[in-house]
Each structure stands twice: as structure tokens, then as C-alpha cells.
């Protein structure tokens, strides 16, 4: 207790602040390097800020509520060209299909790589394969997908003409190839989270007589849900932002064109567009030539991606005083909504 006295004493000698560090004493090369780094950082902030600002100004000024509820229409005048309801729906469908495939695949891959990895050569091969897929340009994946899915065997995924030719273009096909974009991100985030779990967590479970599989299912995966979630969100961002696969495998048509009579399956087998292809087509570079709508759609796209990034930051942020036992993403829901004890 006697220790606390010096800090609390009101009448002590005046406290001197430590002198500020300056670069004056540094060698010239260090000073130049330091200021270059500083300027780069500031420059990047300015660029990021201006992207958001420009898209905000351009986008908001051309944004109408009606754009969200109208389908695109072929017209020479922007005022009659409709809205981007179909592209928004298209983005949602492609993202949902892609992530529905990529999330379980990525988690499974990462879990096997981190917890089993036998035989070792196969584990190394799998890792190289993930890295390779992560590095392939999406347009190459798209062309590959077109070659693959235009095969008659996969006709059920898209449309086939009466002579048996398969288009190889549909929401299903685009979603499957999009999943390849997201798998490395999900697997990476999951693997990273598993690697960060201390070995003693696993040992504790093994020491209770649990098998490896039980340990993974009941302890490891629940513990890393925030990590998995951030991988999933990153993967969604990647899917939402891709244009090449949409142009080649979804047709990037004006509207979503269902095939046949079946309500949902028909749409999934049909072609369509997403926000990215809509922006491209309506930009001055595309054929639609409706730049106002392109700006508005680009703004919506930017907002979606920024919201997803913010979500990642929240999910992976510092684990300040974890007293809520539920996985981070569930904590958005009220307590007691789903308890661990079932």
C-alpha cells in the first residue's frame, strides 16, 4: 500500500514530459525513407477517400428509389431504361450459390490440412492447389468453366438448344466457378484461426477421451466461428466484385432470363446480370451508355463491399473482454436465442 503514494501525491516535483522524438538526428537516407513512407500512407488515404467521395456524389445524385424496384429495359433514353432490380437479385443469387459451395469446402479443406494432413505429400499438394486457384485470374477460371459446363453432360445446369448444344451459361454455372474464387479465402481464414488456437485446447479435449472428430466439431470449429465468418465475408466480397466470370458464364444479359417453367430452378438455369456487369454495360465503355445508372449502381456496389469489410473488422477485431460465450456473429442476436446447451 505504501507503494501507491508517489503517484497520488498532489504536491510533488513538476513532472517533465519526455522530449519529443524528431528525425533531425537521423541520417538523410532514413529521413527521406521515413517521409516517403508517410507520404505514401497519406496519398493512399486521399485516393480511398476520393473514390468514396466521387462515387457518393455521382451515385447519390443519380440514385432513385425506383431504380431498386424496376427491371432494366432496352431503351435509347436513360429515363426509360428502367432500374437495376435484376442485377441486384442476380448479385444475391450468384453470391449465395458461390458461398454456399465455398464455405463448407473451404472449412473442410482447412480443417483437414490443419488437423489431419495425412499423407503429407497429399497435404502439400492440396496447399499448392489452393494457392494455384487463388492465383488464377478469374477470366481464366471463367473460360475454363465455359469449356467444362458447355459439355453435354452438364446440360442440366444451363440451357441446351434443340440440337443438343449446351450454352454453359447460367446462375448455377457462374455460382460454381465463383465458389473457386472464394474457397482460398475461406480456407485461408479458417486455417489461420485453427493455427492460432493453442495446442492445449486440443489436448484438453483429447484428455477427456474425445476423438479428433468430436474435438473438431464440438470445440475447435465453434471456437473459430469468428475466423470462419470473416473468411466467408471476404469470399462474398470477392464474388460480388468479379466481372469476368459474370460476363462469360452468366451472359451479362439485360434481364434475368429464366429457362422453362419451373419458378426458381428456371431462373437458376437461366442467364442474367449482376451489379458489376450492369455497371460495365451502362458505363460509357459499355453498350448501354447510361452513365448515370452506372454511377448509381457502382455506388450501391461500393456500399455493399464497404459494409462487408466493416463486418470483417468487427468479427476479427480485438477480443475485448469476452464474457458472452456465443460465437461473435450470434452475439448480434439477443441472449438466450440459441444456447450452447440446446
Amino acid at each position: 500500500m505504501a507503494l501507491a503514494a508517489p503517484a497520488a501525491q498532489p504536491s510533488g516535483p513538476p513532472l517533465a514530459a519526455p522530449p519529443r522524438e524528431t528525425t533531425a538526428s537521423w541520417p538523410l537516407a532514413d529521413r527521406v525513407g521515413y517521409w516517403l513512407c508517410w507520404a505514401t500512407g497519406v496519398g493512399l488515404c486521399l485516393i480511398a477517400g476520393s473514390i468514396v467521395l466521387v462515387m457518393f456524389v455521382k451515385g447519390v445524385s443519380s440514385l432513385r428509389l425506383s431504380l431498386f424496384v424496376q427491371s432494366p429495359a432496352p431503351s435509347l433514353h436513360q429515363s426509360q431504361a428502367g432500374g437495376f432490380l435484376d442485377p441486384i437479385v442476380g448479385t444475391l443469387i450468384v453470391t449465395a450459390i458461390g458461398i454456399a459451395i465455398a464455405a463448407p469446402m473451404g472449412v473442410a479443406l482447412a480443417t483437414w490440412l490443419s488437423e489431419y494432413r495425412r499423407p503429407a505429400w497429399l497435404a502439400r499438394a492440396v496447399e499448392s492447389a489452393i494457392e494455384m486457384i487463388a492465383g488464377v485470374p478469374s477470366v481464366v477460371l471463367a473460360i475454363f468453366g465455359l469449356l467444362l459446363f458447355a459439355h453435354g453432360f452438364f446440360g442440366f445446369l444451363s440451357q441446351s438448344a434443340s440440337n443438343g448444344t449446351v450454352t454453359g451459361q447460367s446462375f448455377l454455372v457462374a455460382g460454381v466457378i465463383m465458389a473457386l474464387l472464394a474457397v482460398p479465402l475461406v480456407a485461408g481464414a479458417t486455417g489461420e484461426a485453427l493455427a492460432q488456437l493453442p495446442a492445449r485446447t486440443r489436448e484438453a479435449s483429447y484428455a477427456l477421451g474425445k476423438t479428433r472428430a468430436t474435438t473438431i466439431r464440438r470445440v475447435l470449429l465453434p471456437s473459430i466461428l469468428p475466423g470462419i465468418a470473416s473468411g466467408v465475408v471476404l469470399g462474398m466480397g470477392r464474388i460480388i466484385g468479379d466481372t469476368a466470370i459474370i460476363t462469360i458464364l452468366l451472359g451479362a444479359t439485360l434481364k434475368n432470363e429464366p429457362v422453362g417453367e419451373l419458378p426458381i430452378l428456371g431462373t437458376l438455369r437461366g442467364t442474367g446480370s449482376t451489379l458489376t456487369s450492369y455497371v460495365y454495360n451502362n458505363s460509357p465503355a459499355g453498350e448501354g451508355n447510361a452513365p448515370q445508372k452506372a454511377y448509381a449502381a457502382a455506388f450501391v456496389l461500393l456500399m455493399i463491399v464497404l459494409a462487408l469489410n466493416a463486418l470483417v473488422t468487427r468479427l476479427t477485431g480485438p477480443r475485448a473482454r469476452r464474457t458472452d460465450t456465443r460465437p461473435r456473429i450470434w452475439r448480434l442476436l439477443p441472449a438466450g436465442w440459441a444456447s450452447w446447451s440446446r
Binding site: A2, A204, S205, R218, P222, T325, S339, S341, R342
Partner: protein
């Protein structure tokens, strides 16, 4: 590490130039009267003491490295066996081999026999063995779940009906385990609190409760108090002494005072070999081997 460290760290003082520097009190003679061991150690050769596990000429290796050489020891219910020795003496490896936890390290190998109630442990299914021979680790390692789920997890095994048991079906057993670990009174109101919100000492007692929940026959403790403060340590030591009635307890410890306080029998290991095994009193008061004498008097370690 000395034998008779002051129980509490010396009080920290402000450095005062005019005053003489603070000097910690001199250490007491290791074999002096200060070494009061827990009374009644010898009475535990009663009929309640029963051999559960036998370690017979066990050698353990990681790859090319022999870390335990030709060790034989009995593990009995009704008493606490302490493994002491310097770092690298193989005591933790020996402990972990008792529930085959060494096997999760690649390249681990064993020769010799370890039996549980006469049955070689390699012949017991590993998950069953680990439920019967449970373990508590050096660092408290609760799962990132609620207090209730931490204990219930140990109970969820066997047929799927039990694995999916509802909370009400497990609550009694969970509370029993928490009581045995002396934690129940502190957490009874809110079993749904995160286990990570507990203090270090509470977390370790939760780990003990978790280890006890499945009614093990042998409890292995790997330096269970090394990450805890003196008060939590005292609580857990008392708990260990109480547990020996129902389970065979093996504890690895670096803390010689702790070994004296809790153990009935002590095995001193050095560089993988068992140097001396005997009652706690004998090892600490009248060690036979020179190396034991040096170690318990603080000459090395």
C-alpha cells in the same frame, strides 16, 4: 528453485537512498524444523489404499531421444503420488504416457508395460482409457464455452441419446462435479457465464471439475498450480488431498513444498531416470541417494 522460498514475495519498497537497501530474509536450513510435512502420511498404508496402475520398466522416447529410462512405479488409489525433478527429467512425459497423451506427438514411442487394473493400456480403447485416466494441465485450458458446457462436454459420450442429452438431464452431474472441485458455490447462480470470464484459479478448478465429471479412476495433474497465485494454490492443494479418497492422484510439480504438502509418496526423477521413490517424509527428511539430497536441499534444479 530453492526449498524454502519465502511464502510471499518480499514487500516492494521505494528506493530510498538514505536507507539501507532491503535484504530478503536469509533462507532457512533445508533440513531444519521449518520443513513441517503434512501429518499422518504413514497412516495411508491402510486397506483403503489399492493399486490401480502399474508402471513397469517403462522407457519413453521422442524419435531418437530417450526421455524416460526404465521407470517402475505404482499408482494407488487412496494416496497422492508426486513426481518431482528438474526440468527435462521426463516427469511430464511419464505422466502423459499414463493416458497415452504422448501419442499425439509424432515419433513418440514406448517400451515396457503400463497397466490399469492389470490390463495393458495399449489394449484399452484410447477414448475409454482417457475417460478413466483423466488429466489437468499446467495452464488452465477451459473451452471458450459456458461453465456448464465445459463440464457437460466431458459427460457427452457414448450412445447418441446421452450425447444429445438435454441440459436438465446433465445438470445434476455437472453440479456434482463442480462441487467436488470446490467451485460450485462460486458459480452456482450463473452456470451460463463464459468460462473465460473466471479467474485463473477458478478456471483451473473448472478444469478439475471437467476432469472429474466422467468419474475417472486416476487423475493426472501436470503442475496444476504453476500458473496460479498462492491462495488459489492452497485451495487446489486442499482439493487434491481430499480427492485421493476416491481417485488415484498423480501430480507433477516443480514446487517441492507443494509435493511435501500434498503427496503421500514421492518419486524423484533426474534425466529420465527414477532416482528415488519413497514416502514423502523419507524423500524430504532422509533421502538415501546423494542426488535426491542435493535436489531437495536446493543444490540444483
Amino acid at each position: 528453485m530453492g526449498v524454502v522460498e519465502p511464502l510471499m514475495p518480499p514487500p516492494v519498497r521505494r528506493i530510498d537512498v538514505d536507507r539501507d537497501p532491503y535484504i530478503a530474509p536469509a533462507r532457512q536450513a533445508p533440513n531444519g524444523v521449518a520443513l513441517a510435512s503434512r501429518p499422518g502420511v504413514e497412516t495411508h498404508t491402510s486397506s483403503r489404499v489399492r493399486e490401480r496402475m502399474a508402471i513397469e520398466s517403462v522407457w519413453l522416447a521422442y524419435g531418437e531421444n530417450w526421455v524416460v529410462r526404465d521407470v517402475s512405479l505404482p499408482v494407488r488409489r487412496g494416496e497422492v503420488l508426486a513426481l518431482i525433478g528438474a526440468s527435462g527429467s521426463g516427469k511430464t512425459t511419464l505422466l502423459r504416457s499414463l493416458n497415452r497423451l504422448t501419442e499425439i506427438t509424432a515419433g513418440a514411442g514406448r517400451s515396457g508395460r503400463i497397466t490399469l487394473d492389470g490390463q495393458e493400456i495399449h489394449e484399452i480403447e484410447v477414448t475409454e482409457l482417457r475417460r478413466r485416466v483423466s488429466m489437468v494441465f499446467q495452464q488452465p485450458n477451459p473451452f471458450p464455452m459456458s461453465i456448464f458446457e465445459n463440464v457437460a462436454y466431458a459427460l457427452r459420450e457414448g450412445p447418441s441419446r446421452r450425447r444429445r442429452a438435454r441440459r436438465s438431464q446433465l445438470e445434476g452431474e455437472v453440479r456434482d462435479a463442480l462441487r467436488r472441485a470446490g467451485l460450485h458455490d462460486e458459480v452456482a447462480d450463473d452456470l451460463d457465464r463464459s468460462a473465460l470470464a473466471l479467474s485463473g484459479g477458478q478456471q483451473q478448478r473448472l478444469c478439475i471439475a471437467r476432469a472429474l465429471a466422467a468419474e475417472p479412476e486416476v487423475l493426472l495433474l501436470d503442475e496444476p498450480c504453476s500458473a496460479l497465485d498462492p491462495i488459489s494454490t492452497a485451495v487446489i492443494e486442499e482439493l487434491i488431498v481430499g480427492l485421493r479418497e476416491s481417485v488415484a492422484v498423480v501430480i507433477v510439480t516443480h514446487n517441492l513444498q507443494q509435493a511435501q504438502r500434498v503427496a503421500d509418496h514421492v518419486a524423484f526423477m533426474h534425466l529420465g531416470e527414477l532416482v528415488e521413490y519413497g514416502s514423502s517424509e523419507q524423500i524430504f527428511q532422509t533421502p538415501i541417494q546423494q542426488r535426491t539430497r542435493d535436489y531437495v536441499s536446493g543444490a540444483f534444479g
